[in-house]
Symmetry: C2
């Protein structure tokens, strides 16, 4: 079968790359954020890609036990590499990122240690952190319960102080109080930070954090009074099934009083509840940090999906205009472009807003240090909203990329099903996306009411101070090309956001019961919140564009992406712009025309724009997204690995197929 | 743990059901379509639910081989039941439906046999059908190739006639010509209907269908020259992985000339290609039938998802207004209602349009019989569009329902991940949904141009004959309550569809190159097509409402659903209505107010509306969607079945966890 190697993929991608109009290496640096980051990433991604232990393409074929055991192996191997190579904290974190497999490490490093850092006293930190840093304990974060998710105040687990022994007694009083979902809890962790109602002297002081040992450090068996296990299979092949999301019940488990994390409040030896006097806002830094990570991660995950979809859209051919010629690359089709290119633009947009959040984080830390909490409501709202928006768009975008790959996207070896299944929980954890939008909306309503009483909103909400003008002056453009102006774009997004928020505020002000009205107009409020967040992302993209961006053609193509991002949002949200009266349908139509022109500029650069993410084939784990474009021979090769092909005649033939064909079912034992 | 049995689910659902304002039994009949259908369905669903062989909740835990073998067992057992109980064709088909597991049966009964019926001569049918009906052969449908999906004309497989032996020689000349994806092909089928370029006397006559034996009827081994196997794991746990989607290569495989399906064209003994003179439109009946099935199936699958999400939204509680009281049922929240209730409405809407398609099918058959092909273009467009719209909304709707269940929706035991993964291919097979919309758009453009030259459009396109009025007279309503009128609704949808189509036609008419312009304005054309299809669904819902609907309160609540369906589309597509000038933003705002009022009417009936689908717990296979609402104890119970919980200390502990905790990695072999 000499022709088995002949496919057009590789030459097609080579040709695509030859058409590139910008310096891809310079763009790689823009994407990485800095030369230092890039250096770490480059080193770690290659380390992972070249190590056979980190092979991951077989994950969808493994049963749960093998999958989990293999993930434990990877975690151990990673820790060995980190120690042997004396990796820095940044390198270690990058290494884990490129291993790309959910494991107890995510919770140990990402939740357990930060919780101790944020909520333990210095003395407590000295006790726990060294053990955690050298992994002589493995910790997780046990907050949610079987019957209680987002509403932390509804948790039922109890920690009752017993002054006679100076201990807390942890107890799960009901079935619904069973801790449920925490990652790393099911099979791996020796300890957890758990949340429980603190009760002392008969009084319930609400939810507090405690460190609970759950497994023996000798033989890993659950400690007395602890019932713990894995909650079962989750969405998708591979995906999050490498993680042991667990359940946990406490049956009057005693822990020392000092296992309460006491930075904000403590219980004395006598059982008296005492607030530490520390401002509770000190927890905000951690929250901003986690959300920044989530937004940066969104750009990463979306970048993987668009890389796969873009490369395969270039390789794949379907229908054609001229007889005898090869079929047309699907990336040539307007519908494919109109679905794919805005996702490439969103990937860059999320990257830049994540970069900005990093600086916001530094600013928040400095202010908290200086006891300046004035910006925190605005920061809380903007990070809530950005987490919500970017994770939702990323999850939907991954699935859209899968569909853009046609039928082959449905096979696990496209990499997209697993990417989606592993990513989509980001819409739920660290704040459900719908609930987060309401927090943004509440902030907007409050900010507007303060504008009414003369207080100037700041930061991402500053534009609301200008609401009078924004609400009255409509867009003036009459020519399509006028859309290609950052000022025009930003003003449009500001006007839309301000008008939607203003309309909500008006409705609420007329309502007799504010809380009921908030519920009544929930959909409108969510829309206003979304508009606010999209404005932030657009603004940060523009800010990036107004900075110095080196490299031949780099700024030019990013400018096109910036317009694609904004104009596509105008298209999608045309109803907002029209109903608020800011744009006419003619102006919307002009925006669509410009969008189409931008697509034409993206087209020759599309493959290079995803090459700039610089993903290894290992990291993508996608035959459709291979760098070399050699898709079809490798799909064929991969099919030969399917376990069902181990035998030519299928295992169930004698028992279940032959009796059907030979009409011998009556005699068969099924 | 006495309290382990205490949860509020069951009493909550009992109370929900007590609030119902309509006759649920009468609604079940409306949903089933007829008493006769209902009788068959009731019998079959209970037969399946009570038979332990058809257990399916463990599917997500099985590895591929076990999953596949188990599905062969179910297929054999089903065939045994069909024979033993002398089930009618309708009963057998219903039985397979309730077994709810993709298998070779779907292709054998749904594609192989219909292809023979549609494309074979009567003599050929006499040869093949009896074998197929008694399953002494198992057939599949091998059309798509590794490099060729939707574009049938691009297929590369060859069937070269050899007059010296009176045979066709089937050959796969390239790697990309490998047949790829056909269900039932990988491991089960003995035969396939395959598509190949017919070449005789050196001339290529294009794509034709042939019956090819592929496996020995003696021992099931692949026949000489045949390379066949399974293509590998697909999206999701369980899901479509019970199906052996396969690959197939022909290496100069000889089949008798008579294995060409010769109803439309044949090759003579001498190798002469002859058209039969049969109109090629005779294939349309089968196409309408398949699409009708798909639309009805969409309503079924969406009904499962909304049943789960509705019941669990009633059971699940989160946050609360009063201290000490149980938390609020999430179904009380406006955002939950605004996402869930339109999906309940869509479920009914798709059911009724599917019902109407059944009558359309009968009409098409009668007309084809009478050589009247005049309605076929319109029928082709409308069934293309309805397939596209209903499958897209259903796939997205299932995933939305999963998100509406919060974190627990992500666990496989919610039933939703598998439902989504198994359903989503419907967006791709039998015509990619995007491509189908363009077929609708092409029809609309042609119909409009014919209106210009005086020809009256008919059927679902009849309104285009009225485009002058529709394009100029805007909506006149000034009060919210005026929206609750079928005439107002239909006129709005007609005006929107006509105006969008008209605007596209105008743009195309101005373009120098029609084909390039069609590509250029693809997004607008797709939008016009979507508007046309939504109009059809709204119209058919209204038609249903104007028929006699018996049962206390049944017509009343269906009326509310009809308005929810339509007004939610007005909300979602507000940009269309605004930009075409048909509605003002005030009128849109009034529509949203009415929508909210409708939600209030749905609320007390929500659980009963999904009970009316009458799904067994077996069919739903969802702990969150249990009829009795006893969710939490069963989630806890199900977790105990997870294979990882077989051992208290996890299998990888000694090898991979202990060395980490004890700092002994250097000595370990990983």
């Amino acid at each position: 079968m000499a022709d088995m190697t002949e496919t057009m993929g590789p030459s097609t991608l080579r040709e695509e790359r030859s058409k590139t109009q910008f310096d891809v290496e310079a763009m790689k640096l823009v994407w990485a954020g800095s030369a230092a980051h890039k250096k770490v990433a480059d080193k770690m991604k290659v380390l992972v890609a070249n190590d056979p232990v980190f092979e991951k393409s077989s994950r969808p074929r493994l049963d749960r036990k093998s999958l989990y055991k293999n993930s434990l192996r990877k975690a151990a191997h990673a820790w060995k590499l980190i120690q042997d190579n004396h990796l820095t904290e940044e390198e270690a974190s990058s290494l884990r990122h490129y291993i790309d497999e959910p494991s107890y490490n995510d919770l140990h490093w990402g939740m357990f240690i930060p919780a101790i850092k944020g909520q333990a006293t210095e003395e407590q930190q000295k006790k726990w952190l060294p053990q955690a840093y050298k992994m002589s304990i493995i910790g997780c974060y046990a907050q949610t319960e079987l019957g209680h998710g987002s509403n932390v105040q509804g948790l039922e687990t109890q920690a009752v102080f017993d002054p006679s022994t100076d201990e807390f007694v942890l107890n799960s009083p009901t079935l619904t109080s069973t801790k449920w979902w925490p990652g790393g809890l099911g099979k791996a962790s020796t300890h957890c930070v758990t949340y429980a109602r603190l009760i002392t002297d008969g009084k319930d002081y609400g939810i507090h954090a405690f460190i609970a040992p759950i497994r023996s450090l000798d033989d890993h068996s659950p400690l007395p009074g602890i019932t713990v296990g894995d909650i079962g299979v989750k969405f998708g092949n591979g995906g999050y099934n490498t993680m042991d999301n667990g359940f946990l019940r406490f049956d009057h488990v005693r822990i020392p009083r000092d296992n309460m994390l006491m930075k904000l409040a403590s219980v004395t030896r006598e059982g008296k509840y005492v607030k530490s006097g520390q401002p509770k806002q000190i927890g905000y830094g951690a929250m901003v940090y986690v959300r920044t990570t989530i937004v940066v991660d969104a750009s990463n995950m979306l970048s993987r999906a668009v890389t796969i979809a873009t490369r395969y859209s270039a390789v794949r051919r379907q229908f054609g205009t001229e007889k005898g010629k090869p079929e047309t690359q699907v990336i040539e089709y307007a519908t494919q472009q109109s679905r794919l290119f805005p996702l490439i633009a969103s990937t860059y947009a999320f990257r830049f807003v994540g970069e900005w959040m990093n600086s916001l984080y530094a600013d928040v830390l400095a202010r908290i240090e200086a006891n300046d909490f004035s910006t925190l409501p605005e920061v809380h709202a903007c990070t809530s909203g950005l987490k919500s928006i970017t994770t939702s768009i990323t999850a939907d975008g991954i699935e859209e990329c899968r569909k853009l790959c046609g039928g082959h996207g449905y096979a696990c070896n496209s990499g997209l099903p697993e990417l989606y299944a592993a990513y989509v929980p980001a819409c739920t954890y660290e704040g459900d996306n719908t609930i987060l939008l309401f927090q943004v909306a509440r902030f907007l309503m409050k900010a507007l009411s303060q504008v009414g009483s003369g207080k100037k909103p700041t930061g991402t909400a500053a534009y609301l101070g200008n609401i009078q003008k924004l609400a009255t002056e409509n867009c003036k453009i009459t020519q399509g090309r006028e859309w290609l102006s950052y000022d025009v774009i930003i003003e449009a997004f500001q006007a839309r956001a301000a008008r939607l928020a203003g309309a909500c505020a008006l409705k609420l002000s007329k309502a007799p019961n504010a809380e009921a009205a908030f519920e009544e107009f929930a959909t409108d409020l969510a829309e206003a919140a979304r508009a606010h967040c999209q404005l932030i992302i657009v603004e940060k993209f523009v800010e990036k564009m107004r900075s110095q961006i080196p490299g031949r053609g780099v700024a030019e193509i990013l400018e096109v992406l910036c317009y694609v991002y904004a104009l596509d949002l105008v298209r999608i949200n045309a109803a907002d712009f029209l109903s608020t009266g800011y744009l006419t349908s003619k102006q919307i139509s002009l925006a669509k025309d410009q969008l189409r022109s931008c697509f034409k500029k993206i087209r020759p650069n599309a493959v290079a724009l995803v090459d700039a993410f610089d993903h290894t084939d290992h990291y993508l784990s996608s035959i459709l997204g291979r760098y070399d474009g050699d898709v079809y021979p490798n799909l064929y090769k991969d099919a030969q690995e399917e376990p069902l092909n181990d035998s030519v005649v299928t295992e169930g033939y004698a028992a279940y197929i032959r009796p059907v064909l030979k009409n011998q079912l009556r005699q068969s034992k099924l």
